[in-house]
């Protein structure tokens, strides 16, 4: 599968393959915030995210010759970052990387019925901080797919490439992630001060 690669980006990735430091400068400039954000969503600790950020770029320098310029550099870069983050989580976190170990039902399903208005109220009143908190509480497989879709605005095919999973799995995780996120936001709405 070939990706639509922006011309400038394609050139930079190809020049980086030849070891051009200026190409690296341009790519670092372009991706530094997005890559760090993704890593932070994955590991949730700024110091660890910074460490992985550095490791990712060093790995890029090591492996750039194995990158196929016909494919999306962005997806390749994020998959390098993801592999490092997953290795870190496996080593240092007891958190399951697979499906959530809960009973199978989402928090949303366990909550008393709440209308859309209540959810919108949470989002409007509580703003981004509660959203970020709720996102951070999700299992890693959901928060990464939500981050890639909504923050990085990646296509589903690119997300599948980063995750190394079929498109159907991406969609399932996206739906379940949104449902869990909504459950958490509504839970905050139930217990929170916003209703007062």
């Amino acid at each position: 599968m070939a990706w639509e690669v922006p011309v400038g980006l394609e050139g930079e990735a190809a020049r980086l393959r030849r070891g051009d430091p200026a190409a690296f400068e341009a790519l670092l400039e372009r991706y530094q915030n997005r890559l760090y954000r993704y890593l932070l969503r994955m590991v949730r600790e700024p110091a660890t995210a910074e460490d992985l950020f550095q490791q990712t770029w060093l790995r890029v320098a090591e492996k750039i010759r194995s990158y196929n310029p016909q494919r999306s550099f962005e997806a390749w870069l994020f998959s390098v970052a993801r592999n490092l983050a997953i290795d870190h989580l496996r080593r240092y976190k007891p958190e399951s990387l697979d499906e959530p170990t809960a009973t199978g039902e989402t928090r949303l399903e366990r909550l008393p019925g709440q209308g859309p208005t209540a959810l919108e109220g949470v989002i409007v009143r509580e703003g981004s901080s509660r959203m970020a908190e709720a996102l951070g509480e999700l299992p890693v497989i959901y928060r990464e797919v939500l981050s890639l879709r909504f923050e990085e605005e990646m296509k589903l095919e690119e997300i599948a490439e980063v995750l190394g999973t079929p498109l159907s799995t991406v969609k399932t995780r996206l739906r379940r992630g949104l449902e869990q996120m909504r459950g958490r936001l509504e839970a905050r709405g139930v217990a929170g001060e916003w209703q007062a």
Binding site: G19, R37, L40, F53, L58, A61, E120, I123, E151
Partner: protein, 148 residues
């Protein structure tokens, strides 16, 4: 499962723009007729919008600078490694060329056992020199890596 229930299950993905064209059309048609699903979709859209508007955390400037410096050094090391590899390949090919080309020359200039002896000495000298050069390169590489 009724169409209403089926559509309801698609609403989260609709807000994520993750539906196939035909599914999207079904959702749009149903939402136009069903107030409950329209409200539900609005809620999902609000959440999707909230996710898109999350502030972007930035790495500290010193981390970016440190990464930049490390990366430049790494790229230079990689370039040197590639150069050394090319040099090694060239040296091996050159040594073999000399070895093979040396045989007819040795035969031409000498004869009998002297030809064999001279040729063996010449070959041994060439390969020992190449071996010593490789060892020096390796030691230098290790020293550079230790310093990095």
């Amino acid at each position: 499962m009724s169409e209403h229930d089926k559509i309801r299950q698609l609403l989260a993905l609709a807000a994520a723009s993750a539906l196939e064209e035909n599914e999207q059309a079904l959702v749009e048609r149903h939402v136009g007729e069903c107030g409950e699903c329209a409200r539900e979709l609005a809620a999902w859209n609000a959440m999707a919008g909230g996710l898109r508007r999350l502030p972007t955390p930035r790495p500290r400037a010193e981390v970016v600078e440190r990464t930049r410096a490390l990366m430049i050094r790494q790229l230079a090391a990689e370039a040197e490694r590639r150069w050394d590899l090319s040099l090694l390949v060239f040296a091996v090919l050159f040594a073999w060329t000399l070895t093979l080309a040396g045989w007819p020359i040795a035969r031409l200039l000498t004869s009998g056992a002297a030809a064999w002896l001279g040729y063996a000495a010449y070959t041994a000298f060439g390969w020992v020199t190449a071996g010593v050069a490789t060892a020096i390169l390796g030691v230098r590489h290790r020293a550079v890596r230790r310093m990095a």
